[in-house]
């Protein structure tokens, strides 16, 4: 990968990476740091990373940094600090917030898996390569996360 390819990765994946880091950490400043560190790491190792592997490399670095950050802080709050505009479905105006709260119920690892699956559309095997987990582990962790979020949705709707 040369400098031109690196800049292409910045154009294509900087926003997605930032989105992932925001949802994973729940903090915009931490997300910016993660994104900057991820691209810096890619620049340093660009000679060994082909262009087609650039995206997975970036998300792998971002995932590891978010996990490390979670372990340092031991607590993640999905707050309303994301100041950018967000689109909302008219039929379910509160669904997004409910999902955010449901996502916050998950641990850092499960949350990252759900984000990689839903935001970036990675397959189980691709998520396994990024996170360093096995295919079976990815499947089991995602299933647990889905069940947890479904149960939370049921509990909220019952309350509502």
């Amino acid at each position: 990968m040369d400098a031109k390819s690196y800049n292409t990765c910045v154009q294509d994946w900087a926003d997605a990476l930032f989105r992932f880091a925001c949802k994973s950490t729940g903090n915009e400043e931490d997300a910016r740091d993660i994104v900057q560190n991820s691209f810096e790491t890619l620049w340093q190792k660009k000679e060994n990373v082909p262009l087609e592997k650039g995206k997975s490399f970036l998300f792998q670095v971002a995932y590891n940094q978010s996990i490390d950050l979670y372990r340092k802080k031991r607590r993640v709050h999905l707050t309303d600090t994301i100041t950018s505009q967000e689109t909302m479905k008219p039929s379910n105006p509160d669904l997004k917030r409910i999902l955010e709260r449901a996502l916050a119920k998950l641990d850092e690892q499960a949350r990252a898996l759900v984000l990689l699956k839903d935001y970036e559309g990675y397959k189980y095997d691709e998520i396994a390569q990024i996170t360093g987990l096995s295919d079976t582990q990815v499947k089991v962790y995602l299933h647990r996360a889905r069940k947890t979020m479904k149960n939370y949705l049921i509990s909220v709707e019952r309350i509502i």
Partner: protein, 284 residues
């Protein structure tokens, strides 16, 4: 085979888009048989996060790098270049110093050769018409040699193997040394014979035959021995000893000549007769 025990797993796989076409058909068929499970499928579908494309990173152009093709020299290349330059300088200086030393040694050796050649070729024994002039010549030669101190040639000369030059002086050499220690030799052996040759021609001829056209070089041998003793203390490179060996050989020849002369003297006798009557017989 989808059943009531594993249907939930298939529902999640369907939501995650991990089922192939055959598995999807089977799941749909199972849900048709169990319509109450369709609501559960909808709940799992609602857990899928919607893509928030509105969240964008501001200032991402700051993450981009310059695409100019400048090749940065790695720091370690600089170290190698500096080391190579230093080695080249040291090698050049070493070669220059060796060349200068060789030239100096060669010049000094030439000077030594010229000095010894001049002392060898200079006639020490003149015509026997006057007995004082040869004495003066010898003295002058001796002084001319000694006025050139040998330490002037000892600046850059390698040490010489002193064992080759330290020889115990023979009796003839000792006589020569003792005869030349005085500023003016009292009775040089040469001149005694020359004087007697005027009156006793028979006696002188053997001496002349012994030394045909060769000037006696007793002072020179002494001077060479003196010089050889000093040379032994000089630092002369082994490669430069050829000239010294030549000098040594010549000195040895002269010493042998003197020795033979001494032997002849032993077998020489002088007789004074008046008529047939012997007055005096001198045996040497």
């Amino acid at each position: 085979m989808i059943n009531l025990e594993n249907y939930e797993e298939y529902l999640i796989l369907y939501v995650d888009d991990e089922l192939d076409d055959d598995a999807i058909k089977a799941l749909m068929a199972f849900l048709e048989q169990h319509p109450n499970l369709k609501k559960e499928l909808e709940l799992y579908q609602r857990t899928k996060l919607p893509l928030e494309t509105a969240i964008m990173l501001s200032g991402k152009q700051d993450l981009q790098k310059n695409e100019s093709k400048k090749i940065a020299i790695q720091p370690w290349w600089r170290y190698y270049a500096a080391a190579a330059a230093l080695l080249l300088i040291v090698f050049t200086a070493y070669k220059w110093m060796n060349k200068t030393t060789d030239n100096t040694i060669q010049n000094e050796l030439d000077i030594v050769k010229n000095d010894t050649a001049n002392t060898i070729t200079q006639p020490i024994i003149n015509e026997p018409e006057s007995d004082t002039i040869p004495k003066q010549v010898i003295v002058q030669n001796t002084q001319s040699i000694h006025t050139k101190p040998l330490h002037q040639h000892s600046t850059s000369v390698a040490p010489i193997n002193t064992s080759q030059h330290t020889t115990k002086p023979t009796k003839a050499e000792e006589k020569i040394q003792s005869s030349t220690e005085n500023p003016v030799p009292e009775n040089p052996i040469v001149f005694v014979k020359e004087e007697e040759s005027k009156t006793e021609e028979v006696i002188v001829e053997p001496i002349k035959n012994v030394i045909p056209n060769k000037p006696l070089q007793t002072p020179v041998a002494k001077e060479k021995k003196f010089k050889k003793g000093l040379l032994a203390k000089l630092f002369i490179n082994a490669e430069k000893q050829e000239g010294l060996e030549h000098l040594k050989n010549q000195v040895e020849e002269k010493v042998a000549t003197v020795k033979s002369l001494n032997e002849n003297l032993k077998n020489t006798s002088v007789e004074f007769k008046i008529g047939n009557k012997e007055l005096l017989v001198l045996n040497f």
